[in-house]
């Protein structure tokens, strides 16, 4: 897969969801002004926004884009990477918006807190992506796993005071989730 194809898929998906992205960023800024201190609020709220944005990548919402991507000569894992790039970019943007709003509200968070929140939100978003191509109990299970990812990441960072463990955990979960999503996309029938 060329870098151009990766960027084209991500950019087209971001363009198609530009309104959702705007709402997510505004929501993050508003919540950051309401709850500007601490790690829990950015981690859980931005994680929730990440799950919502991931769910918008599901089949049916942009049927023409789905069919274009599925008819293109790309392997499932390549398509998964490209499709995951858009919600991950939104997750990063939302975290950045929250972090910026915290500073404006007079409770500037450290860059470490931003990195911890970002790692957890990206992992949570990638787990939620697998829910988009499943239905029924399997979809609920993946959504529950996404929430559990945020909770475990928070526990590692806040209760165990181990930022390295949190980042490592999030990296492992992200890689496994992305691989799982790629495998599922390769077998997926868009009917």
């Amino acid at each position: 897969m060329t870098f151009g194809a990766l960027l084209a898929i991500a950019a087209t998906r971001l363009h198609a969801e530009r309104r959702t992205i705007a709402y997510a960023v505004v929501a993050a800024i508003v919540v950051a002004f309401v709850q500007p201190s601490g790690l829990a609020a950015p981690l859980f709220f931005c994680g929730l926004l990440g799950v919502a944005v991931a769910m918008t990548q599901g089949p049916g919402r942009h049927r023409h884009l789905d069919l274009c991507e599925e008819s293109a000569p790309l392997f499932g894992r390549e398509l998964a990477r490209a499709k995951a790039l858009a919600p991950c970019a939104v997750a990063a943007l939302v975290c950045l918006a929250y972090w910026g709003a915290q500073s404006l509200a007079g409770f500037p968070a450290s860059p470490l807190a931003f990195a911890l929140a970002l790692a957890a939100v990206v992992a949570c978003t990638l787990v939620a992506l697998s829910a988009t191509i499943r239905s029924g109990p399997a979809r609920l299970l993946y959504l529950a796993l996404a929430c559990a990812t945020s909770a475990i990441a928070f526990a590692l960072a806040f209760y165990l005071h181990s930022p390295i463990a949190e980042v490592l955990f999030c990296c492992v979960v992200s890689l496994v989730a992305l691989r799982q999503y790629g495998e599922a996309l390769a077998r997926y029938d868009p009917v």
């Binding site: 194809a5 069919l67 009917v191």
Partner: protein, 191 residues
């Protein structure tokens, strides 16, 4: 043989589809009529290698889409039934997106697309853009899911000498995309 479906069935989700039998050589045309839109759509998706048959076999240019999906998708171009949502992007952006997905030179793709769009004069943009986008990769086989019968002449002119397989829900529509045996292409009168 460019496309061969032998007892191909789709059994997942909803009423079973098939068995479908079809053999299409280079330059030939085939139009099939189905009772329901869902059935016509699934058969077109199977012929394009996007949906995998649960039973029987589908071979596209002697490649099996279950084993070599990327090879199959380099041979086939698929045009969905639904019109392209025009808020998606302008024609140039759309062609750039398709060219990136297929790894085609952008300038060449744009020139080719302009030429195709001229041949599709009179066809509504929402139907002309996906067809031009599908043909820029110069596929050997064009698969059309319930194409608009009113544009049959223009669509077939744009497709040129390549093989065309279309699915329909009305006999009249299928006749307009009618069969063209290879012998006719070679100037031999079939006996």
């Amino acid at each position: 043989m460019l496309l061969r479906l032998r007892e191909a069935r789709f059994l997942a989700r909803g009423a079973p589809v098939g068995p479908v039998n079809l053999a299409l050589a280079d330059g030939e045309r085939a139009a099939r009529v189905y009772g329901e839109a869902r059935e016509a759509s699934i058969v077109a998706l199977m012929a394009a290698g996007i949906v995998k048959a649960n039973a029987g076999s589908v071979l596209i240019d002697e490649y099996d889409p279950r084993v070599q999906p990327v090879h199959c998708k380099r041979v086939v171009a698929f045009v969905p039934h639904d019109p392209l949502p025009l808020d998606l992007a302008g024609f140039e952006n759309y062609i750039r997106y398709r060219a990136a997905l297929w790894g085609i030179d952008r300038a060449g793709a744009w020139a080719h697309a302009r030429l195709l769009l001229e041949r599709l004069e009179g066809v509504h943009e929402a139907f002309a853009y996906p067809l031009a986008g599908a043909l820029i990769s110069s596929p050997k086989l064009l698969v059309l899911d319930r194409p608009q019968p009113a544009y049959a002449e223009r669509i077939l002119a744009a497709a040129g000498a390549r093989a065309v397989f279309s699915t329909h829900t009305a006999e009249g529509a299928a006749q307009r995309f009618g069969a063209r045996p290879r012998t006719a292409l070679l100037g031999v009168v079939p006996t």
